[in-house]
């Protein structure tokens, strides 16, 4: 069929998009759109995160840090340079990408568990600088970010912000989908499965890991820019290592190694506590509980449960791309 993802997949995403697009028409209470907007933003971050952890098998807990780099870059540019939304967001992505590439070069040589600790260190330093430095506003953060405007049209209402960030999510997911169903995506999966064997069949493992690491950070940085222009305020608490842990929780529960997984996991872990109003205080406690329980019992998460018997849908799609087989 003529579409990028294959006919059946196209139907599924279309089915999800229609309610998403129509939600504002229902004129629900405003807070629902605000939560949905945050879900879109965090789903972006997690989609990028999923490329790194789910597809490439590199465990990092620095994602919140790069999210913060993007957010602060966009914030600073908006406040001091009065540049436009698009410029700020792209700058955020580039800043995060550059930093991650520089750090990734030496760090990605490290073996599994050492790498996790190194990324924890990175996130820790980022949040410490954010909390203590003058130019980041110290512990009080940076208020006064301008509302986003595209082509002169200011986007300030909850519904318009909703659509803006939904658009961002669609963009990021499309990029991720294209990547995953390409030779680069194939290389990432091979690296995840067995680095030495991947190297022996001609895959440049070092380059693949660096590319994925940088891309995940760039997406986080991009989403950070969206975040800054959504809440119009950034502060360091949003970007501490604990937040990276929560993102990991969203990935774990939603399912890694599939495109829908991060969105599902994010939606679940952000919407559910709001739905159970009284439980919102215990939200993080529940995240932690979920992580401790889900990981050993269902390593594949919600969408990945099928991983136990057959290869995941993503890798199956890879082999049936040519149109010749099942």
């Amino acid at each position: 069929m003529g579409t990028i993802l294959g006919f059946r997949r196209y139907l599924l995403w279309g089915a999800l998009m229609i309610p998403a697009l129509l939600l504002p028409i229902l004129r629900l209470p405003t807070f629902i759109y605000r939560i949905a907007t945050l879900i879109f933003i965090y789903s972006c971050v997690n989609t990028g995160y999923n490329l790194l952890v789910g597809y490439c098998g590199i465990i990092s807990v620095a994602q919140a840090g790069f999210f913060g780099i993007g957010a602060y870059t966009a914030a600073l540019m908006s406040i001091h340079l009065h540049t436009s939304f698009v410029v700020n967001v792209v700058a955020g992505a580039l800043m995060a990408a550059t930093l991650s590439a520089l750090l990734g070069l030496p760090i990605l040589r490290l073996k599994g568990q050492y790498l996790v600790v190194a990324t924890l260190g990175i996130n820790q330093v980022i949040s410490l600088v954010a909390c203590n430095a003058e130019f980041t506003g110290g512990p009080n953060g940076l208020p006064g970010i301008a509302a986003p405007s595209i082509l002169g049209i200011s986007i300030a209402s909850p519904t318009s912000l909703y659509y803006l960030n939904l658009g961002g999510l669609v963009l990021v997911t499309a990029v991720a989908a294209l990547l995953v169903h390409s030779p680069v995506g194939r290389s990432m999966i091979a690296v995840r499965e067995d680095q030495l064997a991947a190297e022996a069949i001609g895959i440049n493992v070092g380059a693949t890991k660096l590319l994925t690491f940088t891309l995940a950070a760039a997406i986080a940085g991009l989403a950070g820019g969206f975040y800054a222009h959504n809440g119009l305020y950034v502060s360091w608490q949003t970007f501490i290592p604990g937040e990276s842990f929560i993102m990991l929780a969203m990935l774990t529960i939603g399912g890694m190694g599939t495109l829908a997984g991060p969105v599902l996991g994010t939606a679940l872990l952000m919407a559910l506590p709001e739905a159970l109003r009284s439980a919102s205080l215990y939200r993080f406690f529940l995240y932690g509980l979920a992580l401790s329980v889900v990981a050993p019992l269902w390593p594949g998460g919600l969408t990945g449960i099928r991983m136990k018997r057959k290869a995941s849908t993503a890798t199956r799609a890879l082999s049936s791309q040519g149109g010749s087989a099942a």
Binding site: V53, I59, V61, P106, I107, R109, L110, K111, G112, Q113, Y114, V116, V117, A118, L120, G121, I122, Q124, V125, L128, V129, N132, L196, I240, P241, G242, F245, I246, L248, A249, T252, L281, Y282, F284, F285, Y287, G288, L289, A290, L291, S292, V293, V294, A295, P296, P299
Partner: protein
């Protein structure tokens, strides 16, 4: 002035050494990262303080309470998190222990609130003045207790059969099993021993700083990792070396560079060591078997 900082570093180094030794023991038998190590320490402190609150502030009693509580929690974590995930891919136990860390930290936030809480303990040692240095009682206690604990640990590991079983399991788990060592028992007991050490460290840390706060676990955890890795993962003397190095770096940079970023020093040092010599100062180079 320098002498003062040196003395402070020693006190801090002693505490870090205990934490890191406890962690190294656990990592040695488990071979898995334990993300909730620091948080278990801190919550034990909170629980002990709450239980003892009105009755007593005796150092000895606090010490014993914390050690008991942290050991029990250690057993619990070992049973619930690490035993079931032992044969699964590393990422599973990693995520599980991250989950545990989240849970424990937020339990503390819920139960005791985010503000720092006074760690009230009567320190049986007075402040001493010597050679231009002022050593607070808690610092002296830290140095003394940590040395005592390290001597005790050394004796345990080298002079008892139990200790040898632990060392055997750390060096070569398969061979140890073949020699009749009960792996389950050793892992559980090592967890208790390691947790106990962390409990002692917690009390010393609390008495030195006079406060405890819920998110302290993250800082403790990352510093413990840093010290262990800097000194060499899996090496017992390495844990001590790494801790001392870390304590010196932290104290001196806090005094002469900036107080605000002292927690970042650990991370910078860690990343540097990981890049230059990933095996750590005293670590053994572990080659990947092709």
């Amino acid at each position: 002035m320098v002498l003062q900082q040196l003395a402070n570093s020693l006190a801090l180094g002693g505490v870090y050494a205990l934490m890191t030794l406890g962690y190294s023991l656990i990592f040695g038998v488990l071979r898995l990262l334990h993300f909730a190590y620091g948080d278990v320490m801190v919550i034990s402190g909170y629980i002990a303080l709450t239980l003892l609150a009105a009755s007593s502030h005796s150092f000895g009693l606090t010490l014993v309470s914390v050690v008991v509580i942290v050991s029990l929690l250690g057993v619990f974590v070992e049973r619930v998190i690490f035993r079931p995930t032992r044969n699964a891919p590393h990422i599973v136990s990693l995520i599980s222990s991250i989950g545990m860390s989240l849970m424990i930290q937020n339990a503390m936030l819920l139960l005791w609130g985010p503000a720092r809480r006074l760690f009230v303990v009567e320190i049986p040692v007075p402040t001493m003045l010597a050679g231009g240095m002022q050593l607070s009682g808690s610092r002296i206690l830290s140095i003394v207790v940590s040395i005592a604990a390290m001597v005790a640990l050394d004796t345990l590991l080298r002079r008892t059969r139990f200790g040898m079983a632990i060392r055997g399991t750390i060096l070569d788990p398969d061979a140890a099993v073949l020699m009749g060592i009960n792996r389950e028992f050793i892992v559980a007991s090592t967890f208790i021993a390691g947790s106990a050490l962390s409990g002692v460290a917690m009390v010393l840390l609390g008495s030195m700083y006079g406060a405890i706060y819920p998110t302290e676990g993250t800082a403790i955890g990352t510093k413990t990792f840093a010290a262990a890795i800097i000194g060499g993962l899996g090496s017992i003397p390495g844990a001590v070396v790494g801790s001392l190095l870390l304590a010196f770096a932290e104290t001196f940079s806090a005094a002469y560079v900036s107080v605000k970023y002292k927690d970042a020093i650990a991370m910078v040092l860690l990343v540097l060591v990981l890049l230059i010599r990933p095996a750590g100062i005293l670590g053994k180079h572990m080659e990947e078997n092709i």
